[in-house]
Subunit: 320 residues, 2 copies
Amino acid sequence: MINSPKYIYNDALLKLEEEVDRVLSSSPPLIQKYTSHLGKTKGKMIRAKALLACAMNEDSLIDKDAVYLGAAVELIHLATLVHDDVMDNADTRRGEESLQKKFGKRTAVICGDYLLCEALMMASLMENKENKVRDTIPDYMSKVCLGELRQHVNNWNFNLTVLEYLRTIQGKTAGLFEASFYGGALLMAPDVPLSVIKEYAKLGRYIGMIFQLTDDCMDYEATENQALKPVKSDYEQGVVTLPLIHALAEVPHLKEKALKGMVDEETLDRIVLSSGGIKRTRQLAKKYFDKSILILDKLSLTEEKKALLSKLLSKSYREF
Amino acid sequence: MINSPKYIYNDALLKLEEEVDRVLSSSPPLIQKYTSHLGKTKGKMIRAKALLACAMNEDSLIDKDAVYLGAAVELIHLATLVHDDVMDNADTRRGEESLQKKFGKRTAVICGDYLLCEALMMASLMENKENKVRDTIPDYMSKVCLGELRQHVNNWNFNLTVLEYLRTIQGKTAGLFEASFYGGALLMAPDVPLSVIKEYAKLGRYIGMIFQLTDDCMDYEATENQALKPVKSDYEQGVVTLPLIHALAEVPHLKEKALKGMVDEETLDRIVLSSGGIKRTRQLAKKYFDKSILILDKLSLTEEKKALLSKLLSKSYREF
């Protein structure tokens, strides 16, 4: 491994944001409006932060290559958001006019493709070009795409089993989290044992599961605060998630009624809550949380690294 | 360069088809119908054949890596076809129900993403992993995506200039041809001079231009044989191509009439033909043809290689 620059966490994160912003703001005029909008709403970059935290070495420094790989992961995430929009065919998203409605489906499909390409170019900027990392990116990308597909194919499938659901989110959300942790761990040092890298990857998968399970619960819980509720909820879009799967199993005749569109949003929220669907989903998230704590304790981490990863873990568990 | 297996042209082509078929037939159940349909209609694989021909060494043998890279190029081509379908929102294509209509827009978006991912995985199978080749793939992919975008943004733009049109097809169709020739030339031997590789790339770009210009002419010429005419022509889909651009410049008031939808398909075909729009487009294709011949003569090629590349050139010029 040649000696590439190393950064402290905050500087690495700043550089990473610059790289993502550079791609979004220097995009061709034709998709500029689209990408500049993405730049404003790109959110908390939790996947990129996770990658940087994992890449931190014993001196609390982060290799420049992690900045590029983290930026690539964020761009892949944005690309899937854009293509999600097209697939949902949604006119609104979180209260605002959706980008595919605003700028057109054609631009959205290409914009997503463009972001995927830019993600690959970003990854190819890595100087040390660890073959392991580079060879893994396409593999993880395929996994994420397939998870995405499974979700959409299972829309309106009220017979979805718990196992099928878990497999879907493991591929989709958890897949990209796993890739971030795996890639970060690989870039920590030139000689990280495979067993350690695998533990990081597992931690990433668990945190991704917690992230998605919590998100699914919040979609049903947000009723009390309608301002926070997305204009189209999961149910309205036909997305079948774990809280609903549990409710369907508990409550007789709910399936037939839901299929006939005879259940309104508010009633469904109440049923999912009262049937214990949310409680059981939260319990599963707690299981992943406990497993994650065990891994964090097992890995030999510097104080700063442990603090960063613990913060990510607790954020995925409650704050989203 | 380590010694990887080498094949004669026909065997390499057979292996390449096997690789593409393997990806299409081993796709996950959810998109299997989509990809198996693509397998049946995948066409003449002209880009892959070009790559193999360019990769042929002085002993008329082709490195195994060219098989993987050629298969990757074909998969990228298929991915752009699938996403094209979504962007056009077409219900039919060449007389048959379009795949996005048949299997749904969601599946189509993901199927395209999946094929892009599989293309990258295919490219990562290359054993020698010439950095130059691998680093160039994302670059070319971005170029092709942008050309695609430009085309779609320019639909119904009857003010499109010749230059803008040429830039679009140079990015889109010619971009993937150029990548095929470039990649093939790089894999010919471990020590190909950059000047030679650049000549191959230029030849690829020219052949791509001929291919697209001829295709554009045929869309207007096919009237006489309605059986060959795609159900939705370029004009009906709002695609503005060179024969039409020339006709618009020659014929007064055609632009206003076309914009108002006052020109029917058959009349337009006649006008484009009689105004010299097709003749001038064919003349431009001829220019690229002559330039290509000059390059073919300049490159020192074995007899077999020259025959293959000449055949590709003449096919692009008339048979499509």
